[in-house]
């Protein structure tokens, strides 16, 4: 099985000399009620590349994703999507940028009053008004098949398992064919088999769609499988960034401790 690192190294050349990054987080600070969560973090992700962001709980991994999609605003620093700084953009202007982004929430955040199919069709109903209702239904069904859910599409979110909810959330995130995919703990709370299935699904999507992806996770095994590059966060900043091998060879005490405990 080709790992994400193989895919990423074939398709993208990340770094300063590579193509312009699709996501560029530069020196971002964020505090909540005086508590510093992000402390001058800098990250870049190019097209076709998957970056896994690792770290202990409360180190600002999910906050980083919320800043990138504009649900929160940084205290200082810049976040550029396709070269445009999104910090301070108005809601409707930000909406145009968000159409190019897909977000999988940690708890899937499915709309509990809509069926599985309606959840996936929801972004299409609002942004693809050129599509007929039957086209939207077909597209939603197709996306659900793509994430491995061809039955249960008329069930309510509360009637399906956590793993299935994650898949539905992923299908919804893919509905507008995003160029950027942000995944917040995609395997959290799942059994090892379901986690492996989600990992494979993410890899498959990466192969087929070549999106720039950031995956926030605690799961080192999952990160190693789906991401070409890993960034380890501690106290709101990146301690080390590189391949899994780079992390293994690091002499930094925190990195060693994290790998041992993981």
């Amino acid at each position: 099985m080709a790992t994400a690192y193989d895919i990423a190294t074939q398709q993208a050349e990340p770094g300063q000399d590579g193509p312009a990054p699709m996501i560029a987080v530069e020196n971002v600070y964020k505090s909540f009620a005086g508590h510093k969560v992000l402390n001058g973090i800098t990250l870049r992700v190019s097209k076709g590349e998957t970056l896994a962001v690792l770290g202990r709980s409360g180190t600002g991994k999910s906050v980083l994703l919320r800043l990138i999609i504009g649900l929160d605003r940084p205290d200082s620093g810049s976040i550029c999507i396709h070269g445009q700084n999104i910090a301070g953009l108005a809601l409707d202007r930000m909406g145009e940028i968000r159409k190019k982004m897909g977000f999988l929430f940690q708890q899937a955040a499915l709309y509990d009053s809509l069926t599985v199919r309606e959840n996936v069709a929801f972004p299409l109903e609002h942004h693809r008004r050129d599509m007929s209702k039957s086209e939207r239904v077909d597209r939603a069904r197709q996306l659900l098949v793509e994430v491995g859910l061809d039955g249960d599409i008329d069930k309510m979110p509360s009637d399906i398992s956590g793993g299935m909810q994650k898949r539905v959330g992923l299908a919804r995130a893919l509905a507008l064919e995003p160029e950027i995919l942000l995944l917040d703990e995609p395997t959290a709370g799942l059994d090892p088999i379901s986690s492996g299935e989600i990992d494979e699904l993410i890899l498959k999507l990466q192969r087929e769609r070549r999106m720039a992806s950031i995956v926030v996770t605690h799961d080192l095994h999952s990160a190693k499988t789906i991401a070409g590059r890993l960034a380890l966060l501690n106290e709101g900043d990146v301690v080390i960034e590189g391949t899994f091998e780079d992390l293994q060879q690091s002499d930094i005490g925190f990195v060693k401790e994290f790998l041992q405990q993981a």
Partner: protein, 283 residues
């Protein structure tokens, strides 16, 4: 018993007497906190209102959600306001007949009932009933969506939640309150007449003719359409409380309660201003 009226608890040191300066600083600190919270709440409400207004007047318009909310606020509240209207019709009828008979003004009964129901009780009862049913429902629904990140998911899907969730609900309340008030009034008049007709014969035609004799549109329309302001208050407060919720299930409960309490309170306060406004400009 000790001198101060409390029995000392074995093993515990006697409580230190609270000094006056401590008490004053404690009260001052509480008052400052309360003041800050008060201004913060109004400031946030102002920002929220501006976001909703801006979202409401710019396309794309969420017609389908608006229709769904009109049904939710209007059709589904109709039985409740009809029953409330029917009840106040009977109550006013019984009370008015007794009082008017006592003062020898029984012939004034139809006009008393019409003016009491249409000008006073109908609008305020409709507002309070809708504040309870719709305000609590909206507050709880949006709060639940907020704490389960569904509102964030809407925003992440490049959909403006102020437009989809708040503007549609507030507009539905504004449009539906006057119509529901008309339904309350109609039911109130009908049952009021019926209660009277059971005691002594009075045709409905005679009751209506006598009740509305000499009445102008100015006497009734402003009173009915002022409920659009009630709708604005109910929708705005419920959406605001719901969409700023924090803190899980407890937060949802608080949002629902606060939505009803604050909407009802502001509705009654607004009525004071509206009644004066109508008296000055429409009487």
């Amino acid at each position: 018993m000790s001198d101060r009226g409390f029995a000392p608890v074995a093993g515990l040191a006697p409580p230190l007497p609270l000094r006056r300066t401590d008490l004053i600083s404690s009260v001052a600190s509480s008052a400052t906190g309360l003041c800050n919270g008060f201004f913060e709440w109004f400031g946030e409400l102002g920002i929220f209102s501006w976001q909703v207004l801006r979202a409401a007047v710019t396309p794309p318009y969420e017609w389908r959600e608006l229709v769904r909310q009109l049904d939710e606020v209007g059709s589904k509240s109709l039985p409740l306001v009809a029953m409330a209207g029917a009840a106040i019709g009977v109550i006013i009828s019984l009370e008015a007949r007794y009082s008017l008979t006592r003062f020898g003004a029984k012939s004034m009964f139809p006009a008393t009932l019409v003016y009491s129901v249409v000008q006073v009780m109908g609008p305020i009862i409709t507002g309070l009933v809708i504040s309870g049913r719709v305000g609590a429902g909206m507050g709880a629904e949006l709060a639940s969506m907020k704490v389960t990140e569904q509102i964030d998911a809407i925003e992440a899907s490049a959909i403006n939640p102020y437009r989809l969730l708040a503007a549609t609900r507030i507009l539905a309340c504004i449009l539906m309150l006057p119509l529901l008030t008309l339904a309350t009034d109609a039911c109130g008049l009908l049952t009021g007449w019926f209660a009277q007709a059971l005691v002594e014969p009075l045709s409905f035609h005679q009751f209506i003719t006598s009740g509305f004799n000499g009445a102008t549109f100015n006497a009734f329309l402003p009173q009915t359409f002022k409920t659009a302001v009630y709708g604005l208050i109910i929708g705005l407060i419920a959406c605001f409380q719901g969409m700023r919720t924090r803190g899980g299930a407890a937060g949802v409960g608080r949002a629902a309660t606060n939505s009803v309490v604050l909407a009802s309170l502001f509705l009654i306060l607004a009525d004071v201003v509206l009644v004066k406004f109508i008296l000055v400009f429409f009487s």
